[in-house]
């Protein structure tokens, strides 16, 4: 795909997002955007650093509580409330990250899960979270003091702006030298250490960033639904964000967005069937792990690059067919990128 084509596609996507509230129920769209940001933040850790955290609900949920409390009880404006939620998410991420990066692989997953469960029990017992009831009827307030967010359309564009800021930030991080080091850690941690990178510092920074952005998603969600509850900090939520990322394609930028859209749609569609949502999520997990580990966007990208290679091979086969290609560049064999 040339850069021009790509820009056209991005433009269409953005235009689609701008007109979407005319076609779809805005609350649904906002839910998708919040979870898409959450999944993108999670993917920064799983997809680009290779760390599987099973405790991201802690950051998402705690930030939701902080924002809801700040806005509802202290009467702070929404932007300050969200900022406070993000700061708490980042702080919590720093503490959890410092403990969890002491082990690798599955231990890392188990430790984050256990620490998040601790946060869950804290949220259950602490007085400011409202226990089983959660914090309800959180006012959305006025953005910057004059834009009322009570209207769903206004709220939608605010959530869209938050999502785009978060997404572009992640895009920037992934394509920075810092992001390259993260990918190096993902591919071969020992080698990254031997090259002189302070791997633990990079991991911790990525963890805190991911936690802060998850917090941003949780804070925004608490304003959209005007609710922060135990569901947000439950381990089920941690599982859901893993599912979104896995289904969409970990390590791809758009994968988590696609995954979030699908998972939220399933939740909405099957909401009345109770336990069926859990069963379907379980089946998707099993299917993803057994059949398409690259996820939807990952498989799509692989398909595109495979086709491009086939085309190149075909052009090469016809004499003179590749006159516009730079000389001396040997295209990789058609099967090669599949194994990558």
């Amino acid at each position: 795909m040339s850069q021009l084509n790509r820009n056209i596609i991005y433009g269409i996507l953005l235009a689609g997002l701008l007109v979407a509230p005319l076609l779809f129920y805005p609350i649904f769209l906002m839910k998708v955007l919040c979870f898409a940001l959450f999944a993108c933040a999670f993917n920064l850790l799983l997809g680009f650093t290779g760390l599987l955290s099973f405790g991201h609900a802690a950051f998402f949920g705690m930030s939701a509580y902080v924002t809801a409390h700040a806005v509802k009880v202290w009467g702070l404006p929404p932007e300050i409330g969200i900022l406070a939620g993000m700061v708490v998410g980042a702080g919590l991420g720093l503490v959890v990250g410092l403990i969890a990066i002491r082990r690798q692989g599955i231990y890392f997953a188990m430790i984050t899960l256990a620490l998040a469960q601790m946060v869950f029990f804290f949220a259950l017992q602490a007085p400011f979270t409202g226990g089983e009831d959660g914090l309800q009827a959180v006012p959305r307030g006025h953005l910057f003091g004059f834009i009322s967010l009570a209207n769903n359309t206004a709220m939608y564009y605010f959530v869209l702006a938050v999502f785009l800021i978060g997404f572009l930030l992640i895009w920037r991080v992934v394509h920075s030298p810092f992001g390259q080091v993260l990918k190096a850690i993902r591919e071969n941690e020992q080698r990254a250490i031997s090259l002189g990178y302070k791997v633990d510092q990079y991991k911790l920074t990525a963890f805190v960033m991911s936690a802060a952005l998850s917090g941003l998603a949780g804070s925004t969600k608490s304003l959209v639904f005007q609710l922060a509850s135990l569901t947000d900090v439950h381990w089920h939520m941690s599982g859901e964000v893993v599912l979104m990322t896995l289904l969409g394609g970990m390590g791809t930028l758009f994968g988590p967005v696609v995954g979030a859209l699908l998972v939220v749609s399933i939740q909405n569609y099957f909401a009345t069937f109770g336990a069926f949502v859990t069963i379907i999520q379980g089946v998707i997990f099993v299917a993803c792990v057994l059949m398409f580990r690259r996820g939807i966007v990952g498989e799509f990208n692989a398909f595109i690059s495979r086709r491009r290679n086939q085309k190149r091979e075909a052009e090469k086969a016809v004499p003179g067919g590749h006159a516009d290609k730079p000389a001396g560049r040997t295209p990789p064999s058609a099967g090669a990128p599949e194994t990558a």
């Binding site: 599987l52 403990i99 969890a100 002491r102 082990r103 692989g105 599955i106 231990y107 997953a109 188990m110 430790i111 899960l113 256990a114 620490l115 469960q117 601790m118 029990f121 804290f122 259950l124 017992q125 381990w235 599982g239 893993v242 896995l246 109770g274 336990a275 069926f276 949502v277 859990t278 069963i279 999520q281 379980g282 089946v283 998707i284 997990f285 099993v286 993803c288 792990v289 057994l290 580990r293």
Partner: protein
């Protein structure tokens, strides 16, 4: 002896007993996790769901076939073991060459499916399962009242843990198992069928979880969600103990159960989080775990 450390002894010993019972479940479950991890390199997230299945099989055996507690104590774990073998053959065996994380994700999915199916069929309110007639009542020990069934749970779980330890450390089969944990290729070269051993180990590990489930059924009600919260605590137990040693897993399980019970007496607010706090402290001081090998 009216008071002990400022608490009536009934309260103190009562909580200690509860802690010991929770510890028994932690021990059996973390033992199974450690066994499975040793050979399969998979952290079995479905372990809690399989514990729940053990309790449900006992309940179903009683209510559909009229089979009582004692036969169920053998049959239900066997059934759980058989489902485990099917799961291993169908799903897990395809993952051994991949990153360990995929095993965790797959078994997480399986746990969601099992939990969802039982929730769909039986709701979340919990089903009663009566104590066996032979173990009703209790003993008055002077300083506390000891219900017979609870004493049995502690005795049975200690026996199962010791039996498993003897099996692995003192028998030829156990020697094969330990050898295959160290180097499966070499053991296979000696003519031992390692894939079958892997399958059976998974079956045995989850059967242990099923056994714990049957033991738990008369104490806690039979509930589709009974395993999911437990498994997270057991993960913390495994991280604290390290998965290097069988005895380590058992001792850590019982020890943490007792600590949790005592916390309920002295500082009840922290009782649900104390194990996670201990995990954090252990990770800061000795990241490999109390019995783990640094690598």
């Amino acid at each position: 002896m009216a008071e002990l450390l400022g608490f009536p002894p009934q309260v103190l010993f009562g909580q200690l007993l509860l802690g010991l019972i929770n510890g028994a479940f932690y021990a059996i479950l973390s033992l199974g996790l450690a066994l499975i991890f040793g050979l399969l390199n998979i952290i079995n997230f479905a372990h809690g769901a399989q514990y729940m299945m053990g309790a449900f099989f006992a309940y179903l055996l009683l209510n559909i076939l009229g089979i009582g507690y004692w036969p169920a104590l053998i049959l239900a774990p066997l059934l759980v073991g058989v489902t485990g073998i099917i799961i291993e053959r169908l799903f897990l065996s395809r993952l051994y060459k991949l990153d360990h994380l995929y095993g965790l994700l797959l078994t997480f999915g399986l746990a969601l499916i099992l939990e969802g199916v039982f929730r769909h069929l039986y709701g979340v309110s919990g089903l009663p399962y009566a104590q066996p007639a032979a173990l009703q009542g209790g003993q008055n020990l002077g300083f506390m009242y000891l219900p017979n069934y609870r004493a049995w749970v502690v005795v049975a779980s200690v026996a199962v843990c010791l039996g498993t330890w003897l099996l692995i450390e003192k028998t030829k089969l156990g020697a094969y198992l330990r050898a295959a944990t160290e180097n499966p290729t070499l053991v296979q070269a000696f003519g031992i069928n390692v894939p079958v051993m892997i399958t059976l180990t998974y079956g045995f590990g989850v059967a242990l979880a099923g056994f714990a489930g049957v033991l738990a059924a008369p104490i806690y009600s039979v509930n589709p969600l009974m395993g999911s919260n437990l498994i997270i605590i057991v993960f913390a137990v495994v991280v604290i103990g390290g998965m290097g040693s069988i005895m380590g897993a058992v001792l850590t399980g019982f020890g943490l159960g007792i600590i949790e019970g005592l916390t309920k007496v002295f500082y009840p607010e922290a009782s649900s989080t104390v194990i996670f706090v201990i995990m954090a402290i252990v990770l800061l001081i000795k990241p490999a775990g109390l019995f783990g090998k640094a690598h």
